[in-house]
Amino acid sequence: MSALNRRGSPRRGAQRDGVALLAALAVLGLIALLVVGSVATTVLAQRSSRLAHTDALLTAAADYALNSILGDATRYALADLPFGQSQAFTFASPGPESITTTVNVTRLGAGVLWLVAKSTLTGLDQGERRINFIARFPSVGALPGAAIVSRGGVSIAADVSFPSDTSPDPDCGGPTTADIVVAPSASVSGPGLARVVHLESATDSTAYFIAAGQLATLANASAVVHVHGDTVIAGGSFTGILIVDGRLSISGPFSASGLLVALGPVDATAGGLAMNGALMSFAAPNGDSVAVALAGASMRYGGCAISRAFRVAFPPRPVRGRSWAELF
């Protein structure tokens, strides 16, 4: 009877199972809380570590992009950046991280470059970093003051023209007040159409970029052609900086953009010289002989062409002092 009662009493059996279940659930709940708490603490610690890691990654990516651009000015055509207009370059940083860096480069006055690198990390750990860097194309000296600069006398034929520079770039020094600059003791012969200025600076070798320090600097530049001795140019075209240690003769149609400097006299009476930039001769005044003789030439003073030639020759460098800053 009692056995039947025990078997036939599902209510009591259910009560015993319920107590065990409740106890098990309570312990499980407690364990779950502990696990969740531990996981949360670990996640927080990991997140903090990842933030520090992200910070370092973003800074390194921005530095990498900036250095890549400054280290390869030719590839990124920094010399040809339009004045004042921001140009963007995008980098995908090497490595497994999903970091994209955009560098905006803007050429400002005096050959200054304003660079801003913005690194963005996408994925689980997102972040951004902006770094500003200021670089400048080195300056070897002041730009020539006219299309022709000569220490000695200048002879120009009636068919030599001096078109004005129409470049709107405000970084080119603007229009000049003279077509020919000569030393005070030098004379200019010709039909009298050119604007001539006599300046003492025309006797200074530094104005011709041929002082010892300047020549040493130019010798290290990749885009400067230095001819050791006399040379004759039969024709063609040239863009950049040409330095001739001796006499320069141009015997055929020749188009030049940039700077032509001769330590000896320049003879371009054969006609066909089209200059956009400046022609300079450091030949000393010598009796009746002239330092520069031109005929059938078009001599446009091109401050922009000269500036560009120097920018191509000398890649930009970080400016002294406060070149680096973080942007927020």
Binding site: A52, G84, T102, S139, R322, L327
Partner: protein, 302 residues
Amino acid sequence: MLTASTRRGVTLIELIVAMTVGGITLGLVASISVREQRIFGDLADGAMLSGQLRDAAAILPIDLRAAATGSGDVREARDTSIEFRGTIASAVVCDTGTHSLVLSPAVAGAQSFSAATSSIDVGDTAWVFTPADSGDGWRPFRVASAATTAPGQCATAGPRLSEADQHAPRIAIVLDTPPPLASLIGRPLRITRPLRFSLYRASDGGWYLGERDWSATNQRFNTIQPVSGPFLSAAQGGLVFRYQDSAGVALPSPVAVTRSIALIQVALKGQTRASTRALGAASATGKRPDSAFISIFVRNRR
């Protein structure tokens, strides 16, 4: 029959056994719970200390990295404090106003020509980049006033702003005895303000890493503000600055020639607020120590 069965279930022996088992179980659960609470407390304490160390490690490099040590930005460098010119803004001069320089607008993205960490105030120093054939330089000018001005495109010699950026507000600053303003259009400039980091004892008795910025109005540093902490006391080495030159030679404190500083190392030490109750590795005080060591390479050394 049901009554008889129920009576058997609540006999005294069963009740005592059940209560004993229940008591033991509750005791175990309570013990585990208390221990876990202690562990959580210790972990939270450690996490808090670790967080404070990380805060300091994140904030200090941002300000110190941009210091131009070669230009004399670090005024005083000691083992317990450092005073320097902090860069608070960078910009390209966009235009000129009436006796003022209009800075480019601060916008997001890499095409920005301006940004600031805090508002430019009277007495801040504007360092205007001055290019020269003989050598570039930065000319300092005192900021006489600063105000927001109307948006617009920059002058011809300045940067070209995008259509959207032309509608962003700009800041106009007036400088004391500036050169002809038009000649400054397109020039980069940095705005600096003296800052000082040091360890100080707060009213709660704790030692904190604090920052003070310069008040041009009062001609003294403002009240120190906590950056992070608490850390160990100054005597216990809670915050120690060390300096090296570009050759890696340690410079004794106080650094006599601050222009030679190339590397700033910061050591921070702290300990948990409460004694460790569950986790090991406790110090003699029962509190768990933690530390951070930061090396900051100064970017603008030349």
